[in-house]
Amino acid sequence: MTDTVTIPTPDVRADRWAAIGRWAKEQYPLYILIVLLIVAGLTSDAFFTPRNLANLILQTSVIGIVTLAQFLIVLTGGIDISVGSVLGLSGVLAAGLLSGSNVIMAIAIAVAVGAAIGAINGYLVAFRGLEPFIVTLGMLALARGLVYAYTEGSPVRPEAADFRGIATATVAGIPVIGILWLALALVVGFITRRTVLGRRIYAVGSSKEAAHASGIPVRSTLLVTYIMAGVLIGFAGFLLASRVGAGTPTAGTLYELDAIAAVVIGGTALSGGRGRVFGAVVGTLIFGVITNLLVLLNVSTFLQDAFRGALILIAILLTTFQFSRRRARPTIS
């Protein structure tokens, strides 16, 4: 084959527009977010103030990083309901071990705890063939139990004076923690879309049989993915402890639900193999904006949960419209 593919320019341009059109058609979470932002601007004067927006970013960044971890696991066709507990455990250990005297060591401890638990989950799922749900259900109870045992129920205060530094710092008014979230999202996006490992994650998530038969190392791909997710969760655990200024025993409780919901709202298929990191980020923002807005509007905390629940249902209902329209397209047989 010596002939090279030469395509006239207009076609390229038409292709690009078609690609943009296809992309735009699938961005329903983005549209939900835009509608939410408009509603927020109309109903609350306080929403679009720099202070509130910085606050919003601060509130969503930690759960945003946890959602990135959840996104990776869901891409492989798994689910991780231990994220909240593992986040809590890495937070209290980062603040408590070595008395929390050194920030760098605290980060290293948090990340190592997350990675170790990720490795255990990954080993059980990949090499022992256990269901991710059950494995992480066990880990959820185990990690939370360890948190309570270690803290005896009260917050652990670190000694280092600059422990809160990262979480409170801002660059041009933007919280550093938000920039970290964005950077990690880009890293996860790069890994999933541009690397051989990412290719393997998608293939394993879509069909383990086809991936195995095609010479993809299914087990090690799964293990590596769980470890990567663990690293993200551990780091998020440190950030939360840093923001609060202490390792609190209840930190991260029920984060797993928000993370799973954000991943699904972002268009990632729970069956695995399909989804983009951009969707996971948008999904997190949708949650962040609605929580923030409900607070600004003085909606009672009890009703807030109902609103969030309704939002999840509406958003996943929208995904069914999107997917059924695609499915209805004929296959050329």
Binding site: R199, R200, A203, S206, H212, A213, I216
Partner: protein, 509 residues
């Protein structure tokens, strides 16, 4: 066969009147008018994409026509599956409709669930059900199958026959067989034939959708040929021959494939050496493949043919024996390491193992070799795009890089799967039923690809359940029976009869 035509009832069993069906951008059927009569077998032939399956779906009420009308018997218009079922239409799919977690018996009676016949919540199983299940299974050649076996443990062939066994416990006037024989093999052929004869004698109108000429000519009274959604002609089987039908199907005469006469250098060292291999139902297999040789492995289901293919390529564990490619041993049970050592396996089960369903053509084509365009694990997208474009062109895959592979026809899917493997440049390519469920033209494409491989000095092993394919494609054929090689045949001096006899063991008439 022609006596049926004479007794034909004047009331049609089904009637398609000026039926068109279009999907966005595709005219699947255009102005088709066709009738089928009780007690006749009507074959619907056409290449992939000609509209055969659309027609079957219209008759079963799964699709409504864009224009025109579909009537079954005296029932009137068919608009939904319930209409068709009430009118007595039974559809048998290309993929057997069975529930894996149910037993064989429960699957035989599956369709009676929808009519609540004997399976009402407060109902009890009919007393004679056991005996009727046995009869139904015997009638399709599954007499040694225990009705309590879970279907999960059955292979594709028995599953399809199991689905077909429902014809004897069901009341129907029109039986649609939509490429039903694609996953069955030759030994079930006679069972299908008998089943169709029984149905015909019982006054059922059998609509047989297929592109396999031997089956069409063995069964059909009339043949309707579709091309690009249009009805080309309806002819009586007695008045035509396979060549004419094939010509009508693809609109041009097919050049017959010459037998493969390239003989490998007998002095050359074998590229693949298998010694004392036992795995699954195969035992003590010795096999040599020299460069440029296409070795066929022919046998019935359960003869061990797939076990050989899967175990030499690392897809199945070996009990004993060694496999060497160019002298290097291939470890057991790891497709990945087998591929690294130069042996690739094209799976018989394309949908499950061949390609990743959520992937586009581009991603599936590079699935086995993502590293080729990457450095430090990072993929160079421009290089990959260029490689994919070349591959699509070289293997004549319909659809672009961004088309989902699962939306392609079987033939194009198979080309993607083969291309995926050839990108890994294996020394030995093992192909398991490479043309299963694939139409005439794509089949020729695939034969060409396989021969090019051999001509290029690679070793090829083709596992097939079609004697004719083995004779056309291979340079040497091993026949298996009960897990052992019972003979080696030269395709230039053998006939399909020789192979079938050897595979069955002893004389058949």
């Amino acid at each position: 066969m022609s006596s049926h035509d004479d007794k034909r009832s004047p009331v049609p069993a089904f009637h398609l009147d000026g039926v068109s069906k279009s999907y966005p951008g595709v005219h699947a059927l255009r102005d088709v008018t066709l009738e089928g009569y009780p007690g006749e077998v009507l074959a619907i032939c056409g290449a992939n994409g000609a509209g055969k399956s659309t027609m079957a779906r219209l008759l079963a009420g799964q699709e409504t026509p864009t224009s025109g009308s579909v009537r079954i018997g005296s029932h009137g218009q068919i608009r939904k599956p319930a209409d068709a079922e009430a009118a007595g239409v039974l559809l048998m799919h290309q993929e057997p409709l069975v529930i894996e977690d149910f037993t064989v018996e429960e699957n035989v009676w599956l369709t009676s669930l929808s009519s609540a016949d004997g399976v009402k919540a407060w109902g009890t199983v009919r007393r004679d059900r056991g005996a009727r299940t046995r009869e139904a299974l015997d009638a399709v050649g599954l007499s040694d199958l225990d009705p309590r076996t879970p279907v999960r443990s059955l292979g594709p062939g028995p599953r399809q026959m199991l689905a077909l066994s429902r014809t004897s416990v069901n009341h129907h006037k029109v039986l649609l067989l939509d490429e039903t024989t694609a996953s069955t093999t030759e030994e079930h052929f006679r069972d299908v034939l008998e089943l169709v004869d029984r149905e015909r004698a019982a006054g059922v109108c059998v609509v047989f959708v297929s592109h396999r000429m031997p089956e069409v000519f063995a069964m059909a009274d009339r043949i309707a040929v579709l091309r690009n959604g249009q009805l080309v002609d309806v002819v009586r089987t007695a008045d035509t021959d396979p060549d004419e039908i094939l010509t009508m199907m693809i609109g041009e005469a097919v050049s017959a494939l010459e037998p493969f006469d390239m003989k490998p250098d007998p002095a050359a060292d074998p590229i693949l050496e298998v010694r004392g291999l036992s795995s699954g139902s195969a035992h003590d297999i010795d096999l040599d493949v020299r460069p440029g040789e296409i070795v066929g492995i022919y046998g019935l289901v359960g003869s061990g043919r797939s076990s050989i293919a899967r175990s030499i390529s690392g897809h199945q564990d070996r009990r004993t024996g060694t496999v060497r490619v160019r002298g290097r041993p291939i470890p057991s049970g790891s497709p990945r390491r087998a591929l690294e050592k130069g042996i690739a396996y094209l799976s018989e089960d394309r949908r499950r193992e061949g390609f990743v369903p959520a992937f586009t053509n581009a991603l599936n084509l590079t699935l086995a070799t993502p590293g080729q365009d990457s450095r430090w694990g990072v993929i160079n997208r421009r290089a990959e795009k260029a490689r994919v474009a070349t591959l699509l062109k070289r293997y004549q895959v319909k659809g672009g890089a961004e088309t989902m592979t699962r939306s392609l026809s079987g033939g194009n899917q198979q080309k993607v799967c083969i291309a995926k493997w050839l990108e890994a440049t294996p020394e030995v390519m093992v192909l398991d039923e490479p043309t299963k469920g694939i139409d005439v033209r794509a089949r020729l494409n695939i034969y060409e690809i396989v021969r090019d491989l051999a001509t290029g000095g690679k070793g090829v092993v083709v596992v097939t359940s079609e004697a004719e394919e083995a004779l056309k494609l291979c340079s040497r054929i091993l026949v298996l029976r009960d897990g052992a090689v019972v003979g080696t045949y030269d395709p230039l001096t053998s006939t399909t009869d020789d192979l079938i006899r050897a595979s069955l063991g002893g004389d058949i008439s």
